[in-house]
Symmetry: C2
Subunit: 208 residues, 2 copies
């Protein structure tokens, strides 16, 4: 059964992104530092078909490969897309990407099965398309914080993985802000220790 999962990095104080976000400064000031654990892994550059700049290949890399392999479609918010559009190389996602936006725009077809679809009928409409595209694989909700909030409040998320980076942002965007605290049950199912981050996976289910 295909799953809907969230897989995001956050700072020790719970921020997905820092202040001063823009296409020229994606994720804000020092924002990408929450992904430092990924950038050192060969698996990160391999899965995204980029020249390999990673020096490590350990449990963190294995996690990157597994997460990438299970992903049959991606969903993301408009601001995450716009911040990334300026700098992402073509073919990065290797699966269809559904972008939540009010903008009308034709699909942007890239190499390696990466096509961005711009969806104007809200979270649930985009999710239905992503699920259909994913087939037996899973749908990954990528971000940003507003998209994560919508996903959790929708009640459709099956699984949440947090990569907690050991740094403080002090300000920015937190994914749980605005999530209905009465609606969901989280159960930690797996923890993986790393000197650069901590990976925690939860099953998520709506309260009856």
């Amino acid at each position: 059964m295909s799953k809907i999962f969230i897989d995001i990095a956050i700072s020790l104080d719970g921020f997905m992104a820092a202040d001063n976000r823009s296409p020229k400064n994606p994720m804000g000031d020092n924002g990408p530092a929450i992904h430092n654990w990924m950038f050192v892994q060969k698996a990160f550059w391999e899965t995204h078909s980029m020249d390999n700049r990673g020096e490590k290949d350990d449990a963190d890399g294995q996690l990157i490969r597994e997460t990438f392999a299970r992903t049959g479609a991606w969903m993301m918010g408009k601001r995450m897309f716009e911040e990334g559009e300026a700098s992402w190389p073509e073919g990065l996602f290797r699966a269809p990407v559904y972008v939540l936006t009010h903008e009308k725009r034709e699909p942007w077809v890239q190499k390696d099965n990466t096509t961005f679809y711009f969806i104007n009928d809200g979270f649930e409409g985009a999710l239905a398309k992503a699920k259909a595209a994913a087939g037996n694989k899973d749908v990954r909700i990528s971000g940003g914080a507003d998209c994560i909030r919508q996903a959790l409040n929708s009640g459709y998320v099956d699984e949440l993985t947090l990569h907690i980076a050991p740094l403080i942002h002090s300000s920015g965007l937190r994914p749980f802000d605005g999530v209905d605290k009465t609606k969901l049950t989280f159960i930690p199912t797996k923890t993986v220790h790393s000197p650069m981050t901590t990976h925690i996976t939860y099953t998520v289910s709506p309260n009856s």
Copy 2:
């Protein structure tokens, strides 16, 4: 060498305490739920010399015993003390407790080596007294959020343990709010998985 350590529970969205805190409602609405993992452990009731209401004795309990055994003195803020004073049984801490306050008050001597000292000369003054009292054991900074912030910003903290509870508070007090993001380096050293919480320990050191 004696260490200064922080050991606190937080919600998935980073709160140590919820809204509507008072001595009649310690930690605020549903606040104590972040400690549910402790309340089911025999070790929690044993170490605090209370009638045993725990049904479990596993890795979480072992962690409670180790943390209690290493603690030679406690530090806490005035509001944490005032919220607890109304309901804590006597002799709970089994070591001297240094309370940061502006109130002048004689030490409150209880059984089992628990004595509350009310310290009026700030965080560093209280820390010096707690270190002297702890001897070869460690000093535990208990909370609340404002006391944790002061401790981290002081640069004296050696170790931080977070127990991340799988629930959302949505509002309340966050321990990292107001912590200087440039001042400290955190390195995750140990992670312990539990179905009721996730324990992460970091070494903490001031940046040079």
